[in-house]
């Protein structure tokens, strides 16, 4: 049975971590396109997969957010990764099974997963 007690526990756990919380400038932002095109293409499970991975790996410096139409609807679901001080990386045609690789290689190890990016999609002539 879910209970409000569990929320209290979440609060207590978060408060203990507030001291080591990174300030906003250090945070990595993962932005998932959630306009009509994105939703129809399957962005919701992709967002859900990111939330799950970030929570599983306890990545406190990562913020997952949603945005509207990015402008390249045929390549949805699209996910942008913003790491402060680096160029934005745009992943296209994302699916939930590609998410763990992006999280572990890019968000944690800082290696862009080139084959999922918009540059690679263009080369393939999509």
């Amino acid at each position: 049975m879910k209970s409000l007690e569990e929320l209290k526990a979440i609060r207590e756990r978060m408060q203990k971590q507030i001291d080591i919380r990174h300030n906003d400038d250090d945070r990595i932002r993962v932005v998932v396109g959630m306009a009509t095109c994105g939703i129809a293409a399957g962005a919701r499970p992709v967002l859900a997969a990111f939330l799950e991975e970030v929570e599983k790996r306890n990545l406190k410096h990562v913020t997952v957010t949603q945005t509207g139409c990015i402008g390249v609807c045929r390549l949805e679901p699209i996910v942008e990764v913003h790491i402060p001080g680096q160029e934005k990386v745009t992943y296209v045609k994302m699916s939930p099974d590609k998410v763990p690789a992006v999280v572990s290689e890019h968000l944690v190890n800082r290696h862009v997963v080139a084959e999922y990016t918009i540059g690679a999609a263009d080369e393939r002539g999509r």
Partner: protein, 179 residues
């Protein structure tokens, strides 16, 4: 859109973009009809925009000349013999009501409502969201106002753990409806 929950997610995003502070999501199953209502207190629309809003070539976005959310919802509802109504007043808010004939073969499944509501909240943690599902067996309701006090000011509703709790909680409530 494969199911109704995705339409809900899509239209709710409009409300958030319109600057809603409060968002009401209602799902009603009654006498073979499924009614989805999305009400917000956002910017609202002037009469001319409201009249054209279900036209696919009407959109407020600047990246493309096409806005398909409301037209797709209208199509989905009308395909079952249902309807879509959009009411709006500038400065007050907007209400979108979609009615589906649940027994019609083209009626989309409900989909993952709990996951969708949790995701709407996760993406707009500052908005007060109230989700109500009414079925012949009863009514369930989840309101973000009820949990903000418990979470305190330092835990945003965008935290993955909180979103997961909200989804599981609504799933449980929904389970009770269909007993």
């Amino acid at each position: 859109m494969k199911d109704l929950s995705l339409h809900l997610l899509d239209i709710a995003c409009n409300s958030v973009s319109a600057g809603a502070g409060a968002l009401n999501l209602e799902l009603e199953e009654r006498e073979g009809l499924l009614t989805v209502t999305i009400t917000d207190d956002g910017a609202g629309m002037p009469p001319r925009l409201l009249a054209a809003v279900t036209d696919p070539f009407t959109t407020t976005r600047t990246t493309r000349k096409v806005g398909l959310g409301l037209p797709l919802l209208r199509l989905a509802a009308e395909q079952t013999g249902g309807s879509l109504r959009v009411e709006s007043r500038e400065g007050a808010g907007t209400k979108v009501t979609a009615v589906f004939d649940a027994r019609h073969i083209d009626c989309p499944p409900l989909g993952d409502m709990a996951g969708t509501v949790a995701m709407i909240i996760q993406g707009a943690p500052h908005v007060e969201v109230r989700y109500t599902h009414t079925a012949p067996s009863g009514t369930i309701c989840f309101d973000t106002r009820d949990i903000r006090g418990i979470l305190g000011p330092d835990v945003p509703l965008s935290e993955p753990e909180v979103a997961r709790w909200i989804q599981a909680y609504i799933e449980e409530l929904t389970g009770q409806l269909h007993i």
